[in-house]
């Protein structure tokens, strides 16, 4: 049998009914479009998540403050001093979600973590925790010369630079002496430096933070932006100085870098035990803090992705089945319409499998054309969607191969029955058919 003749015939038959062929193939287009959109978006979303968290480190543990809901009196007492409107307190009613929100959005609740907590975690030892830093932030009026801006200022430990992967571009980081002496020194992240100084020298310049003079001792190099937080907007000072300046005693967050991924969960529970004891809380449910590891967040992201993937896969699956049934339907119609042609072909020597292959070729070409259009449309959808959530998307060879295979397979599966019906027609009956 001649392949070129076969394919030529198939195209002749398909083009003989252009509109019908087009409508038939729509289901396949949608199905394959969903598959491609699914894979392209899924890949790029998980890449983006992966990038975000590899920049964070996979052994990161974040301890966040969490306001206790029931015991309002206790909170009121405690928060009297904290009720400084400058401190960000969004999301304080969100309880459980706080950890997540804090991690994602930089939302901070009433500080509940003490310097004792910080020291105890650090004292777990190098073999368990390699870096620990408290964080306390405040939106402050930051001024240099006659320039004044409302910016977030954060008090941290030296370890913070290691945890965040900051590198010094100019000047120095602050030292243990600065922390012990509550020195009023600041280190600026690259964008904050640009905001305040443009490209002028900043080292040893004095800026004011809520009217308090601080000396700039270092500028950080630019860091790759992650999706949730811009790491290049930061004004950092020793946590001890920050507590004093902000008139605070507690930290909102303590960031911990575990020694390795394997011990993350055991370190998490050790920290929990420590803090519960420190805060004199008996029941885990009443804890005024949350502990979340980067692994937890990764898991959550992945399960969200899995749900999304499932939804897309269901759409793809359903439209492929519906599309396949459409193909089967139209091929059955085509077989009936062309009964005489089949009789003629058999009369001139076509065997059963010749007819089978002829009709299978037609249905497969139909679905392949649908598949190719679907690949185009799916990629377009993923491009648009990716732009909306500002990630980049790529059309992988794997996805194209998969889409082509699926559409070919749909053509074979749903084309088989009509082709078989055509192939087993009796030549005499077929020729007599009116």
């Amino acid at each position: 049998m001649k392949i070129s003749a076969l394919i030529g015939q198939a195209f002749t038959a398909i083009f003989a009914n252009k509109v019908r062929s087009f409508l038939t193939v729509l289901g396949i287009v949608i199905g394959i479009g969903s598959v491609i959109a699914l894979i392209s978006l899924g890949d790029s979303v998980s890449n983006t998540i992966g990038e975000n968290f590899s920049s964070l480190g996979s052994a990161m543990i974040t301890v966040n403050s969490k306001p206790v809901k029931e015991d309002t009196d206790a909170i009121d007492e405690e928060t009297d001093q904290n009720e400084d409107p400058g401190i960000m307190m969004m999301g304080r009613d969100h309880g459980e979600e706080n950890g997540m929100r804090a991690m994602f959005m930089g939302v901070v609740s009433d500080p509940t973590l003490t310097e004792q907590d910080f020291n105890d975690i650090r004292n777990l030892g190098e073999d368990k925790v390699t870096a620990v830093s408290p964080e306390i932030s405040k939106t402050s009026d930051v001024a240099y010369n006659d320039l004044s801006k409302s910016l977030t200022v954060t008090g941290v430990d030296i370890a913070y630079f290691q945890i965040e992967g900051y590198e010094i571009a100019e000047g120095v980081l602050f030292s243990n002496e600065d922390i012990a002496g509550k020195s009023k020194v600041v280190v600026l992240a690259s964008q904050s430096y640009n905001d305040l100084f443009g490209s002028e020298n900043a080292i040893d310049e004095v800026i004011t933070i809520d009217e308090e003079e601080c000396r700039v001792i270092g500028v950080l190099s630019e860091k790759k932006e992650s999706q949730f937080i811009n790491p290049n907007e930061a004004i950092l000072l020793p946590y001890s100085s920050a507590l004093e300046s902000f008139d605070q005693e507690m930290f909102t967050t303590i960031s911990v870098e575990a020694a390795n991924e394997e011990i993350v969960s055991s370190v998490c529970s050790e920290i929990e035990t420590l803090l519960l004891a420190n805060h004199e809380i008996a029941d885990t449910g009443d804890a005024d803090f949350t502990i979340i590891s980067s692994q937890d967040i990764l898991d959550m992201q992945e399960s969200t992705m899995a749900i999304l993937t499932g939804v897309f896969a269901a759409i793809a699956g359903i439209s492929l089945v519906v599309g396949g049934i459409g193909i089967m339907n139209i091929m059955l119609v085509s077989v009936t319409e062309r009964t005489k042609e089949i009789g003629l072909r058999k009369a001139v020597g076509a065997k059963t499998y010749h007819i089978l292959i002829q009709f299978l070729t037609e249905s497969v070409i139909l679905t392949l054309v649908g598949g190719l259009v679907g690949i185009g449309i799916g990629y377009l959808i993923s491009l648009i969607a990716a732009r909306m959530i500002s990630i980049t998307t790529v059309l992988s060879i794997d996805a194209v191969v998969l889409a082509v295979s699926i559409s070919g397979a749909v053509g074979i599966v749903f084309g088989l029955y009509p082709a078989w019906k055509a192939a087993r027609l009796d030549p005499v009956d077929a020729l007599r058919y009116e």
């Binding site: 049998m1 001649k2 003749a5 076969l6 015939q9 002749t12 003989a16 005489k340 042609e341 003629l344 072909r345 058999k346 009369a347 001139v348 020597g349 076509a350 065997k351 059963t352 499998y353 010749h354 030549p427 005499v428 020729l431």
Partner: protein
């Protein structure tokens, strides 16, 4: 030598209501190589049924059939297809060209199912032979009925079969075109092809060297001419 040898052929049709029509009732027919046989008879006398059996399209009958001395009664459908493609050229009364397909590719149709070389050249020369050289790239729906039958004849010759079977080939043609088509067929017979034509027209049958008259599924009379 008998190219076609049919013995006591019986054929019953059963419709959906299980009513049986006996289309052929014990028919014997021998056709020699190179013969030109006209099969005549009224409508419903069993001509087409006989033609389908001779043409190896129908193997569901009682009796014995040897084609070129080979028993073909129990061959599988695919074996019959193969034999048909090689040995028999069909010319039907109507339709029977592929629509939206040009003359050349209609003539080439039998070659799709086997791989032989020099196909296009042979097809072109056959198209020239039937006088349609200038229509070679015309679609079949752009042809007249007479031209369609010429294409069908060219197609029937494509695999160089030993037998040409034509079921009322001039049934849809006016007298003048019918004569032209018949001249073509007679020419083939003169070249040595065995020719079996079904017709109910005396004028057409007159060309044949033997006439077989069917009535109610049996041979009523048989006569050699000349």
């Amino acid at each position: 030598m008998n190219i076609i040898d049919l013995k006591s052929i019986k054929k019953d049709y059963r419709n959906k209501k299980r009513i049986i029509t006996s289309a052929l009732r014990g028919l014997d027919l021998r056709i020699e190589e190179g013969e030109f046989v006209a099969i005549m008879g009224r409508s419903g006398s069993g001509k087409s049924t006989l033609m389908n059996i001779i043409g190896l399209l129908d193997s569901d009958f009682e009796g014995e059939y040897s084609f070129k001395s080979k028993n073909v009664k129990n061959l599988s459908g695919n074996k019959l297809s193969e034999l048909r493609g090689k040995e028999i050229g069909f010319v039907f009364q109507q339709f029977n060209l592929l629509k939206k397909t040009d003359v050349l590719h209609n003539v080439l149709l039998p070659t799709v199912y086997r791989s032989s070389r020099g196909d296009n050249k042979r097809a072109e020369s056959l198209i020239e032979k039937v006088g349609l050289k200038d229509k070679i790239h015309n679609k079949s729906n752009e042809l007249s009925v007479g031209q369609i039958q010429r294409v069908a004849i060219a197609r029937a010759l494509m695999m160089d079969p030993s037998v040409i079977l034509a079921d009322e080939p001039t049934g849809n043609l006016d007298t003048k075109t019918a004569v032209e088509v018949m001249d073509l067929m007679i020419g083939l017979n003169k070249e040595g092809k065995t020719l079996v034509i079904i017709t109910h027209e005396e004028d057409i049958a007159a060309y044949a060297n033997r006439i077989v008259q069917l009535k109610d599924g049996q041979i009523e009379k048989e006569g050699k001419k000349r």
